[in-house]
């Protein structure tokens, strides 16, 4: 099968030649920081992105036309995930029911629908049932009903089973194990059949505003900017898409949502969002170990009781003996030496887990941040010209670890509210972009609100000295018995980025070396995600201040970014001359998980969207 190695060599050849095309870096190679108190040597320039160095002040961009082609739709949706696609589908369903015409456009940064989707996932079908009562006849990929549900606490060598009594949030009776990427792909097909315009491979990179400050729409990413930030021959501006209302469904910690929170002050009355990182692998296991429909969750080892997290093992029933396994680590962890990737790899060796994987082989890997804030962290959801749905504002039911059913429902509610308003001839909007506070009211009257309210105290109850076990006790008493009706609402700890303790106050963790059969090294894992980006573009992991990684992150926290990134993007390497280190950003490896933007203790990293089409190539993750 020599084609494989020849193709690999060809790809390396392609990459090399594409790299040779780039123009030489401009003379401004080093940026001297005159007011830096810790370093007097020039800081090597890392960030070249135009969001940090605007192009209207850059001499290399003089004379380049920055005009953009513009088009109009009725509704624009950013992000083709479960929420975005459900909103698009429901809008078209309502339009066809009532004989109206609606132009709905969805932009998605992945090259194909579902390629950036990653989740466990165990789906509660109730909102899918509302969207498509005939989902089964339509061939929705829900092939694996849950048959067995187990929960355990792991110690270093043993597993303590915990009974899942009816009424506990972790029980999965009636649910389905799905490959969410395939479900999203199926939703995309249904959307196209209904006439939704889907544009995968085009990322929304900018929010556009009317003169009155309301949202006008979005602009897609520019293409053809070289790594040093200068225009290439193939430079072309992105396109503007205008709409009466824009739905932002970017998923957990969206980059446009981050801007919108600031612009419209949407987070003034809610708590900051808190997150976790989820790492996942797909394994083909030995048939004897395969139990289709079985679900297993664990907490405990290798995390200590103060670090929130746990694992899942889901046995799929889709023909081959496929098992989805994953590990979640709360991003409010305190030890900067913690590496979520390596915790995941060493967890696989536990005597209760390893036997399932022995004799099998790994076929996929990926990672994504997820919300843990629940009810307390839901921001204001609407603003003139737009609204937020899905995991972007965050409707995840944390103890159930399910957010897909609420995301789908939020998309449907948005569609209903929007449809009612924009087809109402008597409706006159005060602002150029339509403001829909009714969406927020409808959401608060729906089952999403009741469900999230009932479980609101479970995650914060893990912050006591008893840690995760305190949380389990709290769940047992207040959720199982009292159904979440207690009159108080516990608070979270604050921003995840502020929870890290300085490295000198913490002990480094000794992780075992990967054995290459059950556990693996980072780079071979990243290769399995299929991630890639056009090499000759500015790094999309932008630093507000290039001197901070070495002067603050490395010196105080020992560079936690080299540990929490599940794709090896951040590396501290020795400088060419003299002592000291510099940060090297391997932007091509990025899997778009957003963890760095969340956990950077200096909040100096700003993740922006790279050229559309780049990123992971997940298949049914």
């Amino acid at each position: 099968f020599h084609c494989y190695t020849a193709k690999y060599a060809l790809c390396q050849c392609l990459r090399l030649v594409k790299g040779l095309r780039k123009k030489c870096l401009p003379p401004i190679l080093h940026v001297s920081r005159l007011n830096s108190s810790t370093s007097s040597s020039p800081v090597p320039r890392i960030t070249t992105h135009y969001t940090v160095y605007p192009r209207d002040k850059d001499p290399r961009w003089e004379g380049i036309s920055m005009e953009r082609f513009a088009d109009e739709a009725d509704v624009i949706i950013v992000g083709a995930g479960p929420a975005g696609l459900s909103a698009a589908i429901h809008l078209k369903q309502l339009a066809s029911e009532q004989g109206k015409e609606l132009r709905v456009c969805v932009v998605e940064k992945a090259s194909q629908i579902g390629a950036h989707t990653l989740s466990g996932a165990c789906l509660e079908p109730k909102s899918l049932q509302e969207l498509f009562p005939d989902w089964k006849e339509r061939g929705a990929p829900l092939h694996t009903p849950v048959t067995e549900d187990k929960f355990g606490i792991l110690t270093e060598k043993y597993r303590i089973p915990v009974p899942l009594l009816p009424g506990l949030p972790m029980r999965n009776h009636g649910n389905y194990i799905v490959r969410l990427g395939h479900l999203v792909r199926w939703l995309g097909e249904q959307a196209e059949q209904l006439g939704v315009e889907l544009y995968p491979g085009y990322a929304a990179s900018e929010v556009l505003f009317h003169e009155d400050g309301s949202v006008k729409g979005i602009a897609t990413n520019d293409v053809g900017i070289a790594k040093d930030g200068s225009p290439k021959e193939v430079f072309e501006r992105g396109m503007e898409l205008h709409a009466k209302i824009t739905i932002f469904s970017e998923g957990c910690h969206g980059h446009l949502a981050k801007q919108l929170y600031k612009k419209f002050n949407l987070r003034e009355k809610c708590e900051p969002q808190t997150y976790a990182i989820g790492l996942k692998e797909l394994w083909i296991v030995d048939e004897k170990k395969w139990k289709p429909g079985k679900i297993e969750h664990t907490v405990g080892w290798p995390l200590d009781r103060h670090s929130y997290g746990g694992s899942f093992v889901y046995h799929l029933n889709e023909g081959e003996p496929l098992v989805a396994i994953g590990f979640v680590v709360g991003l409010d962890y305190q030890n900067p030496y913690l590496s979520p990737f390596r915790e995941f790899q060493r967890w696989k060796h536990h005597p209760a887990i390893a036997p399932t994987l022995e004799g099998g082989h790994r076929i996929a890997y990926g990672a994504r941040a997820l919300n843990e804030g629940g009810f307390q962290s839901i921001p204001r959801l609407t603003f003139p010209g737009g609204l937020l749905i899905g995991c972007s504002p965050g409707f995840m039911n944390v103890p159930k670890i399910k957010g897909t059913h609420t995301a789908i429902k939020s998309g449907m509610l948005a569609a209903e509210t929007i449809f009612q308003k924009i087809t109402d001839e008597n409706f006159h909007s005060e602002t150029a972009g339509v403001h829909l506070p009714e969406y927020e009211e409808n959401l608060q009257n729906s089952w999403i609100w009741k469900e999230l309210y009932a479980v609101r105290n479970i995650r914060p109850s893990c912050h006591t000295a008893l840690g995760v076990y305190g949380g389990m006790i709290y769940t047992g008493i207040f959720y199982w018995i009292f159904r979440g009706k207690e009159p108080w609402t516990l608070k979270h700890k604050g921003l995840d980025a502020h929870q890290l303790k300085p490295a000198k106050d913490c002990t480094p963790i000794e992780y075992p070396k990967p054995d290459g059969k059950i556990s693996f090294d980072l780079l071979s894992s990243v290769a399995l995600s299929g991630t890639n980006h056009e090499h000759d573009q500015p790094a999309h992991l932008t630093l507000m201040d290039d001197s901070v990684p070495v002067n603050k992150n490395l010196s105080i926290y020992d560079g936690p970014e080299q540990r929490f990134c599940p794709a090896g993007v951040y590396e501290f390497v020795p400088v060419e001359t003299g002592d000291g280190q510099k940060l090297q950003i391997n932007a091509q490896n990025c899997v778009h998980c957003k963890t760095c933007d969340i956990k950077d203790p200096s909040q100096n990293i700003n993740w922006v969207v790279p050229e559309g089409g780049g990123g992971p190539a997940y298949n049914g993750m």
């Binding site: 099968f1 084609c3 790809c11 088009d71 396109m239 299929g530």
Partner: protein, 254 residues
């Protein structure tokens, strides 16, 4: 110039994706895997569109042979500037057996049917690395060929093609109609931007069957099995020359 150009584009598994062999060893897993246009086909389309922009040719036709999804690849070609597309519908067992010989028969038939003066193809596809389709198409049509082109100059009735060969660069002059295959350094393809993708939705894609073109898809080749390359064995380090000789003797090498 009223010439028409035919450009072949192939839908292949994206070069950055790690491929996996199917458990039944009949091929690689393609379902749900990210596909994109063969990089050399992108370069071919770019060259054809540039010729049209220089007003040296009249029309660019993009062709792809394969199942329904090949139409996505044709759409990308249309978004890059091709005028219309032809989807040759081949699926199932026929698609599994589709190789350079079958494709070149199809391209030759289309070239005659569409009265084409120039065929531009990528030099090879990154999934099979055959590097045969361009050459076979030229032979079937009895046309001259300029393969591994890194530069193409259009002259009245002929082409000056600079080719990348093992020894360096070779420049040849070939009469049209001709077949040219694109190599890496021919050009840097433009992006298929969103406004162009939207416009491309309005451009025409005709679907034809190989039988409509009178082409027989039967293959003389049968794939017996597809396997992963064998795992690289760990090497053994030795300390001295004597140790090395002893090890070589023990394993029967000397």
């Amino acid at each position: 110039m009223s010439a028409r150009v035919l450009v072949g584009v192939k839908r292949v598994i994206d070069y950055a994706v790690k491929i996996r062999v199917k458990p039944d060893k009949t091929g690689v897993v393609t379902d749900g895997v990210k596909h994109s246009m063969n990089p050399f086909c992108e370069i071919a389309i770019e060259e054809a569109v540039r010729l049209k922009e220089k007003k040296l040719i009249k029309e660019v036709i993009a062709v792809s042979c394969g199942p329904q999804q090949s139409q996505e690849t044709i759409r990308t070609a249309l978004a890059m500037g091709a005028d219309r597309g032809i989807h040759v519908d081949v699926s199932g067992k026929d698609y599994e057996n589709l190789g350079p010989l079958q494709v070149s028969k199809i391209l030759a038939a289309l070239a005659k049917k569409e009265d084409v003066r120039l065929i531009i193809l990528g030099k090879q596809a990154i999934d099979d690395d055959c590097n045969q389709t361009g050459q076979m198409t030229a032979a079937l049509l009895d046309w001259p060929q300029g393969t591994f082109a890194s530069q193409v100059d259009f002259q009245e009735d002929s082409l000056k093609v600079e080719r990348e060969i093992d020894g360096g660069l070779e420049t040849i002059k070939i009469k049209m109609p001709a077949v040219v295959t694109a190599d890496l350094r021919l050009n840097e393809p433009r992006y298929a931007t969103l406004p162009n993708i939207m416009k491309a939705k309005k451009k025409k894609i005709d679907t034809v069957k190989p039988s409509d073109l009178g082409v027989d898809l039967s293959s003389q080749l049968e794939v017996l099995s597809v396997e992963e390359p064998s795992q690289r064995q760990a090497g053994v380090k030795v300390e001295t020359v004597e140790d090395l000789i002893k090890k070589l003797r023990d394993s029967g090498r000397i």
